[in-house]
Amino acid sequence: MTSVHTPSVALSKYRDQHFKGSRHEQERLLRLTSTLYIGNLSFYTTEEQIHELFSRCGDIRRIVMGLDKFKKTPCGFCFVEYYARDDAESAMRYINGTRLDDRIVRVDWDAGFVEGRQYGRGKSGGQVRDEYRQDHDLGRGGYGKMVQMGQLGANMRDS
């Protein structure tokens, strides 16, 4: 399969702010990479489930589960690395925006996994988005961390 450049495989607006290197270098890597960032997973979604879905696009080199920095439990994201760029492109085309474990998953290019990146970057150990979230999301530990803290405070005042 020869790769064709169409919108679903274009780079998104997101850039990893912790990338070590120039923006130019980062974008060069994003255009060559066979690694994907997978987001909006449930905390309960396992590596096995991810493997089953993503292997439908090609042979997977490895999956790195995103973990809570402190609890070392899954916190709703992972990296999927394919052997071939074409297969990663297929995942961008056919899996991004479809469901896994009843959740719409986000698939995006990643410049390549580096040790340490498997951990959540939020203050509480999970992903930053789970710090500030206002909604209740059962698959991601209920309310966002800030809201939970606030409620906790409120409860304590009440009692």
Binding site: Q49, E52, M65, S90, L100, D102
Partner: protein, 813 residues
Amino acid sequence: MNRRRAYEDDGDFYGERSRKRRRVSENQEMEERLETLILRVGENSSSSLESNLEGLVSVLESDLGNFRSKILRILSECPIKMPEKCTIYSTMVGLMNAKNYNFGGEFVDHMVKTFKESLKQCRWDAARYALRFLSDLVNCHVISTNSLLQLLDNMVDAANEDSVPQVRRDWYVFAVLSTLPWVGRELYEKKESALENLLVRIEVFLNKRTKKHHNSLRVWSVDAPHPQEEYLDCLWAQIRKLRQDNWAEKHIPRPYLAFDSVLCEALQHNLPLIHPPPHQDSFEYPMPWVVYRMFDYTDCPAGPILPGAHSIERFLIEEHLHSIIEAHHWERKDCAANLLNLSYKDKIPLEYCIVEVIFAELFKMPTPRYLDICYGSILIELCKLQPSKMPQVLAQATEILFMRIDSMNTSCFDRFANWFSYHLSNFQFRWSWDDWDSCLLLEPEHPRPKFIEEVLLKCLRLSYHDRFKEMMPETYSKLIPKPPMPTYKYTMEGAASLPGTATAHKLVVAIRQKCTPEDVLNELKDLPNPRETSENDMVESTFNPLKIDVFVQTLLNLGSKSFSHTFAAISKFHLVFKTLAETEEAQICILHNVFELWVNHQQMMVVIIDKLLKTQIVECSAVATWVFSKEMVGEFTKMYLWEILHLTIKKMNQHVTKLSKELSDAKERLDRNAESSSSESEEETAPAGTDAVTPQRRRKKPIGDNADKPTEEQVERMEEKLEAAYVDQKRLFLIIFQRFIMILSEHLVKCDTDGRDYDTDWYRWTVGRLQQVFMMHHEQVKKYSSTLESLLFTSDIDPHILDVFHQFTALRS
């Protein structure tokens, strides 16, 4: 939408044209605008197609002076890239020709060149679209009827050549037949007897044609309720029906009819004499296919009627939908939107046509043209875009497929199960299972309960075991998979009596304390070899099945938490695996132990074996032998076992492909180097090794090339490696096919002597799997056809088995 806006901008262009023309520097911009105008003509706009065409033609005519070659190029590319707009472009060329006869002539030459080039380059669809366009130019009075008939006649001549592959001959007839819906009426009116003559020649050809390949391409083995027709037979029936209707069809829009008064005044050109390029061994032709049908008009509720199987409209709609999928398969959302926006949508039950065409692609034999998940994701988008109709039609289709699954071929059975589980996982696993519970009374090996069992296993992989409680009625309990947990015998009841238990427990402690691979080998050292006490005394191998048992099961159980844990364990103790499993027999023993531990977790088995292959702990041939081993008899009809076999074959194929690519690259570099170094030596005067004075450019190039350049010796070694890989690959296929022949022959003979019917569920699954190996890996297997024929598929084996092989070879004959 952007498209719309762009079109409106183009509308302004007519008015601003003269002003812009003054600026010569904008030539490039002009060219781009012309291109956009031509590409977009016929898309939704507020004004009529006729006035758009007239406007565009006058623009092009006045710009011919400056942009002649550009216009020629674009106009000849469009009908090939957008075959659905063929008649729009032929009208344009017709109007141009009426105004400017010379341009018409140039265009015909250009198009003929495109046609011939496509034939030479084996771009068969492009050639067919070019031929269609040339034919349609007859309708627009650009090309003479006689000269087109001459071309079609020459193509039928090509179909009647001797000693060329049948696939080539078939293609020429297919190309002629599939162009007739466009030009049949014109030929009938002007040259009826010549057309009849052409058709008679085609009929003679079709009657003589062999169709050995037909059965292996069928989705179902039976023809009720819808026959699975061979593609040329079906098209021939449709063309005959069209002839009966005096060549009147209702699907193709024909904008040129509105311009008849202009066009009939135009002078026509004669096509030059065109002879199809002779066959070369390197030419690859399209493989034959069957026309997939799952609906007829009785399936569709009130509304527009689905055209009959032999109406030409059905062919035209299907071809149109297939070409939309081809054009948009990179973007599933665009693809779904374009399918639902088919120009003919109000006159047909569109959702049914779309679903039928998508399943036609998914079930295409030998392999679908795109990934299974591409079709699955398009179906999801269709359901989202058309939530009031599409999910129901899709559910109806699923129901039909399930009802007909008894006779579905095994490759399609797998694709169907994979798609359905994936689709369910995108729709909360909701399905009216109760409707299917009558299948629970059938034998477990029957395709219906089997299908549900396999779908549930796949659903388990995509979700989790507890989900079944909400998702499945209790009546289905016997089909629900066991929880995917390891079965570790060394901690189970009765473990004390096992010879390896004590060592296994010590090993657990050692591995938990982060011991080295050497420590593990040390722990295993004292385990007795059960083989030495038996009659195998003489065997000199170090292979000890008890060591393998204790090590493999204990290690993998410790890593059972996830794939990552398992992979980490395998990679850390790679040395132990390699030490314990030098022989193929020992490797098979590893596989047995993986199976024993993970019997309830198929996906785990698949990924572990994949990992064992990648890390070269087991060889492909060991996996193949294991699949057919006695221990796996109970698993033999389960999908996952074949998933394992196919991934093994794919590994081997990839290895061969990689080595052969490396070799051809190296050879190319060697050749290129031989040339460039000779030319280099002429200009390069400074002796090698002198630096500083040599200009950098000159110095760098030869050094770079030399670093790149492989030596003759290296290339030779690569050749040897590739040869060895071919030997391995051939051996793998021989093992697999030989095992198939053995078990199938045994079954047939046994049934014969016992006076039982051989046609059991097991037999059908097994023949189906044999077929699947041929089909899925046909590109690779075909290299060994003659070896297979002389060594395995010899005339003395049972005709049922031999037939599968002959169907395979007929695919390209």
